[in-house]
């Protein structure tokens, strides 16, 4: 098996990259200017984190003796099946309720994962995680706050937030389902055991949803999986077609 860090770093980088691209779709048409700015700033943090993770993935690829790819090659020149992001982050934006609920469910898992990665024995991973964690705790604070305000808001906002939660729930299990890459990383580089993040995630999410007067779906419900291994929904292809258009149509083009 190749160095597990390469796939693992692609997962971290692709989550940030794909979610950033999704949030960027809102730019200029957010429901209020404050929300427009918040989404674009969150997208900016995530694109910055994606660059750090993908650059490191490329360096590690180079260390294994394969031709090293830089952040741009990894972002723009891979096809959907080579992406390693969670299915959750490629979900379409839908209504603002779905965008916010997706953000909250992801932020909660992202925050817990980064907290664990700060203790990784790979210094480069730990350093990026420490930097990203500061930004993501702000993301989580904001998305949790909005889930509470809209969940415990009007009858209409409550209904939409509950529907978004029910719709997205089956995409959350993947965060806590380990495969050989996760296991190898935990054993060799002290990264969090995926399943160990589930209880704190359920506690954090459950507490927020309770405050928001939203009903938490069954944690034992059947869950989708496959994104981390490159088996994606049809939505990712459309997202990449837009994101990668320039480099595909004009290879090597630079600003």
């Amino acid at each position: 098996m190749q160095d597990p860090r390469f796939d693992y770093l692609l997962r971290l980088g692709d989550n940030a990259l794909v979610l950033s691209q999704r949030l960027s779709e809102w730019v200029g048409k957010g429901p209020a200017i404050e929300e427009d700015m918040a989404l674009s700033n969150t997208a900016l943090d995530l694109i910055g984190q994606a660059r750090l993770w993908l650059t490191l993935a490329g360096e590690i690829e180079g260390e294994t003796g394969v031709a090293k790819r830089d952040e741009d090659a990894l972002a723009y020149l891979r096809d959907a099946h080579q992406f390693r992001n969670l299915l959750l982050v490629e979900r379409p934006n839908g209504s603002y309720a779905e965008t916010l609920m997706r953000q909250f469910l992801f932020d909660a898992g992202h925050h817990l994962l980064l907290e664990g990665l700060v203790a990784s024995t790979d210094a480069r991973i730990a350093e990026i995680a420490a930097k990203a964690l500061k930004e993501v705790s702000y993301h989580l604070r904001r998305s949790a706050d909005l889930v509470v305000r809209l969940g415990d808001g009007t009858a209409e906002s409550h209904k939409r937030m509950q529907a978004a939660l029910d719709e997205l729930w089956m995409y959350t299990g993947e965060m806590f389902t380990a495969d050989a890459v996760d296991d190898a990383m935990a054993a060799q580089y002290g990264t969090p055991v995926a399943a160990s993040l589930r209880a704190p995630w359920l506690a954090l999410v459950g507490r927020t949803l309770a405050t928001a007067t939203l009903r938490m779906p069954d944690p034992e419900a059947w869950m989708q999986k496959g994104g981390k291994q490159g088996r994606h929904s049809e939505h990712l292809g459309y997202l990449l077609a837009e994101m990668q258009f320039l480099q595909r149509a004009y290879p090597g083009q630079r600003w």
């Binding site: 900016l44 995530l46 702000y138 889930v147």
Partner: protein, 172 residues
Amino acid sequence: MVSITRPATADLWSWLAAVEDPEIPVISIVDLGIVRDLRWDDATCVVTVTPTYSGCPATHVISQSIVDALHGHGVEDVRIETRIAPPWTTDWMSDAGKQALRDYGIAPPLQRAQTIAVADIGRGAPAAAPDIACPRCASTAVELVSQFGSTPCKALYRCKACREPFDHFKCH
């Protein structure tokens, strides 16, 4: 002509202290706390920079400004090194920098940056931090309008005394 005399380190720092942040041109990159180290590697002046936010679009401009400033003072060979650990924090901002922000109309970060306790997340709207004061009238009767402002490092507040909105440079 190739200069073989190295300028004094104090001079280098003073030259960099004149380089402004491109987004907030009243604070220098030294007062912002992002220049972490200056050293010589043979004839190359190595400047170590710690970026603020991962995605801050000013990072590239800042690096170029550093190179330009040093070139302007005759330092031919400059290399920028990026260091991300420990991560940048507003605790590194100088008092002069904070005062410059206030004079410009931005409430500076006064609290020590701290990690938000996960246990406190999801318990409703966060209260305004007690030491954010309106940069115009100094009232502490302020309320949060938006958790993000015109740049990633700022949030938008409103003063309930003088009714003016203002930016707050977030504790980070």
